[in-house]
């Protein structure tokens, strides 16, 4: 297994937790599991209540989208999504009426089928950037649950803050799932040097016999699913870990499962890390889906002067966005507003092989970059977009981009 790369900057600062749950308007991006092929269930001037289903993806998976706030549907507008392209968004004007009831349900009372149905109906998806519908993973014979709390990006701390604030809840839902699905164990994996969250988890985990804490080394991409499953269970799989009865969820997803099972709350909010040297007060903010990033920035006290860049989803995997009118979606984990960077000038490849050693998907980016035809033989479709190849390349070649482009080309 690839060892991954130790980033030069790894010290993590955990920013304070804030809530921003009542924007004037939300622009709910009509995207589910990266697809814009969606059936809208409401029309202009309809009144929607927080939690109402407003759209549903076409295709097999049928992921529903829910209204993040109550209010009137104003229509549709194009806003920026995290790939720096505009998408159609459903605009809802907030009437500031709180409609959710606080009824609690017992986690351990659910049956397998009920959990799966609840997850499906609440539209719970992977919140670490994949947006893969969670219920699909649970619809299998399961042996092991792994909660991935290995946050690789140096500037993102949304998982850490959730563990800090909601550790008991997360462990409880893990235990409940292990119980309900008859799994052997539940594992929470963290990075060795994340001392703070290690301490917190250790405080609570003792009461659960089937849960345990596992530490992995501090290498970038050690949190990558394939690597993690290998490290912890010594299992290799073809496409998904469920082939081996292993289900892997992120911390945020696990907490979303908790809220769904405990309060029947659909997936309408998430924690996003707002950071960067141009932001007056960096924070981990609990926001509604569809919130404009510009609104959150104002809420956090605005920006410093000077030319800036906005980066969605971290400096290695992410993209720079052309506008502050970026909308929060369930696959947005982090927003960073930094002093504008100079794009490195690409030089000639030295054939040093650094990109080959760095790639956690075991690709050879240099060969993809050199290939003129028959890209398929070099399997670019295996790229997970981690950005490490570009990070290490001494010739400043943006290999991540080239591999991703090759991936699109052969698709």
């Amino acid at each position: 297994m690839s060892r991954g790369i130790r980033l030069e900057k790894t010290i993590k600062e955990i920013y304070p937790f804030k809530k921003y749950l009542n924007p004037n308007k939300v622009y709910l991006p009509l995207v589910a599991h990266k697809s814009e092929d969606i059936t809208v269930l409401v029309k202009k001037d309809d009144y929607v209540v927080e939690g109402d289903m407003v759209a549903k993806s076409k295709g097999d998976l049928k992921v529903p989208l829910h209204a993040p706030i109550s209010g009137k549907v104003l229509g549709f507008e194009q806003k920026y999504y995290l790939n720096n392209k505009k998408v159609k968004c459903l605009v809802i004007e907030n009437d500031f009426v709180d409609q959710l009831d606080d009824k609690e349900y017992q986690l351990y009372d659910y049956t397998k089928e009920e959990v799966i149905n609840k997850l499906k109906e609440s539209g719970v998806v992977g919140l670490s950037g994949t947006a893969f519908p969670t219920y699909v993973k649970y619809d299998n014979d399961l042996k092991t649950l792994i909660v991935n709390a290995v946050e690789s990006d140096p500037d993102t701390s949304s998982d850490a803050i959730l563990i800090n604030n909601k550790c008991e809840e997360i462990l409880e839902v893990m235990d409940a799932l292990v119980e309900i699905f008859g799994m052997n164990e539940g594992i929470i994996a963290i990075k060795k040097n994340d001392l703070l969250i290690k301490k917190i988890i250790k405080n609570y985990i003792g009461t659960y016999v089937k849960l345990k804490l596992v530490e992995v080394p501090d290498y970038y991409a050690s949190g990558w699913e394939r690597d993690l499953v290998w490290r912890i269970k010594k299992e290799k799989y073809k496409n998904y870990p469920i082939e081996k009865g292993i289900v892997v969820n992120g911390v945020a997803t696990m907490y979303a499962i908790y809220e769904t099972l405990k309060y029947h709350q659909p997936l309408i909010q998430r924690v996003v890390t707002f950071s960067g040297d141009k932001l007056e007060k960096p924070a981990n903010v609990l926001v509604k889906n569809g919130t404009l990033v510009s609104d959150v920035i104002d809420f956090l006290g605005g920006l410093e002067e000077g030319s800036k860049m906005l980066i969605a989803n971290g400096p290695l995997m992410g993209e720079s966005i052309a506008s502050y009118e970026l909308v929060v979606s369930s696959d947005l984990t982090a927003v960073s507003i930094i002093t504008a960077l100079e794009e490195c000038k690409e030089e000639t490849c030295l054939r040093c092989g650094a990109c080959v050693l760095a790639c956690p998907a075991k690709l050879s980016p240099v060969l993809i970059n050199e290939a003129t035809d028959n890209l398929k033989q070099f399997r670019p479709q295996k790229c997970v977009g981690c950005g490490l190849c570009s990070y290490v390349c001494p010739a400043n070649i943006n290999l991540r981009n080239k591999v991703q482009r090759a991936k699109e080309e052969i698709a």
Binding site: I5, I321, Y324, C349, G387, P394, N401
Partner: protein, 466 residues
């Protein structure tokens, strides 16, 4: 409010290409200083050089560097490229630097310049410049001048600096190996002890002799992750294993593989030339196979071809296979067994060739410097066919005696470096004509060769009288 965008990632580690080159230069520094010491200072200390000539090795290197830089600049000029920009990214000094380090110090300057020019122009520029060449540019340049000008290089003194030329009775250690497997007395002793090989006070090319400094450079580069260390280690290990086998089968000790590793520029080639990033594989398994096959080829060229430049030829040959090795290396990352065939083949060759070489070569008679191949009596003449060890190899001769007198002396074959001087002086004829051949003066710049010729006559006469 406009936001700058370009596609990510937005952080980069601090390693960049010019940094790698800087580390390379740092690693080469001690080697350059050592050559000034060995090839400049020692001859000066022993009274062979003027003070200023201490810096001749440096001068030698700078000329080659300058040649390749000028070649690139003129090329950019002709192509109407922005010279400053293009030059900054082309690392133009490299081919020249390595050409100078790999050539013998006595190489005439014009040959050095040709070598550096060919290295840059043919080795690099016609492929499209830095990063696009298939062959190691420096080695291509060296191969070229070795092929065309080897006589001139040897003529002007070959691998020996003036001091060595007087105290050492041989050309360069490996040059004596091609006719058979030599023993300690022929391979090592003429040049000192094995420790001299390690430190580097033996004849050899400008930068290749000091095993110690090259090994230090290797560790420096490997620890800083600036070098494809897999290639170096497998290459050296392969040569070690093969020559160890060959040596053991001939009853030699551990000195034999060490001799092979410390001589003929093997270490320099393994550390600096085989790892040239542009012309070596990028995948780990590709690099391992590259090193293994380099080792095999080097041994093959050293024992089975008439040229001592095994390292050079091996690297240039393997350069051709980089693409294939990278492909094997690519698949091996997903499924190691896909590269098994390569490793199995390498091991078969390693063992097979070692045994083949060991069995196919006779060990040279250690002490014999003189061998009588055939004696015939025709009428009242006695005809001797003999072999005598000379300066850079064996001299075959026919000597005809009649009534206690040498009536004819014909050199049938020789590989002497300074033969031309012997011929120009009509030395053989003089020996025949002289009343007492022992009285004929030796030729000062070909002492060993002329002494060997006298020995032939002396030995033949001795045998005749018995």
């Amino acid at each position: 409010m406009s936001l700058k965008t370009f596609s990510g990632p937005y952080i980069k580690n601090s390693q960049n290409a010019s940094q790698i080159m800087n580390h390379l230069l740092i690693a080469l520094m001690p080697i350059i200083i050592f050559t000034i010491y060995k090839n400049g200072y020692i001859p000066y200390r022993e009274g062979y050089y003027d003070f200023i000539m201490i810096f001749y090795p440096l001068f030698f290197i700078l000329i080659a560097v300058l040649t390749s830089c000028l070649t690139e600049i003129s090329f950019f000029f002709l192509r109407k490229q922005n010279i400053k920009e293009a030059f900054k990214k082309s690392y133009a000094f490299l081919p020249g630097l390595f050409v100078a380090l790999v050539l013998p110090l006595n190489t005439p300057i014009f040959i050095l310049i040709v070598g550096a020019f060919i290295a840059t122009a043919i080795g690099k520029l016609i492929f499209g410049g830095f990063g696009h060449n298939i062959f190691n540019p420096a080695l291509l340049g060296v191969l070229f001048v070795m092929a065309i000008y080897s006589v001139n290089i040897v003529e002007s003194g070959g691998y020996l600096n003036p001091y060595e030329a007087d105290v050492i009775s041989g050309a360069t250690p490996l040059a004596t190996e091609v006719e058979g497997i030599g023993g300690y007395a022929t391979l090592v002793e003429p040049y000192g002890r094995l420790s001299d090989f390690f430190i580097g006070t033996i004849p050899g090319s400008v930068g290749e002799t000091s095993a110690l400094l090259i090994i230090l450079a290797f560790f420096y580069l490997a620890i800083n992750r600036m070098i494809k260390w897999r290639i170096t280690t497998t290459y050296v290990a392969t040569v070690f294993v093969m020559t160890y086998l060959i040596g053991t089968l001939h009853g030699f000790g551990a000195w034999y593989p060490l001799f092979h590793i410390f001589s003929g520029g093997l270490l320099f080639g393994a550390v600096f030339m085989a790892t040239d990033p542009v012309t070596s594989p990028t995948t780990p398994v590709g690099q391992l196979l590259f090193g293994l096959f380099l080792g095999v080829l080097t041994v093959v060229f050293r024992f089975l071809s008439p040229y001592p430049e095994g390292v050079l030829t091996a690297i240039l040959t393997m350069n051709l296979l980089v693409f294939i090795l990278d492909k094997i290396g690519f698949y091996a990352r997903f499924n190691f067994s896909k590269s098994m065939a390569g490793f199995v083949l390498a091991w078969i060759l390693i063992v097979g060739i070692s045994f083949l070489v060991a069995a196919g070569f006779d060990q040279k008679d250690e002490d014999a410097n003189f061998v009588i191949n055939e004696v015939a009596e025709v009428d009242n003449q006695v005809i001797y066919h003999v072999s005598q060890r000379g300066f850079s190899g064996w001299i075959e001769a026919e000597v005809i005696l009649e009534n206690d007198e040498v009536v004819n002396f014909v050199i049938l074959s020789q590989t002497e470096s300074y033969w031309a001087r012997v011929e120009n002086a009509n030395y053989v004829e003089k020996l025949i004509a002289a009343d007492d051949f022992e009285e004929v003066d030796t030729i000062s710049s070909a002492t060993i060769t002329t002494d060997s010729l006298k020995s032939i006559l002396r030995n033949v006469l001795e045998d005749y009288h018995e």
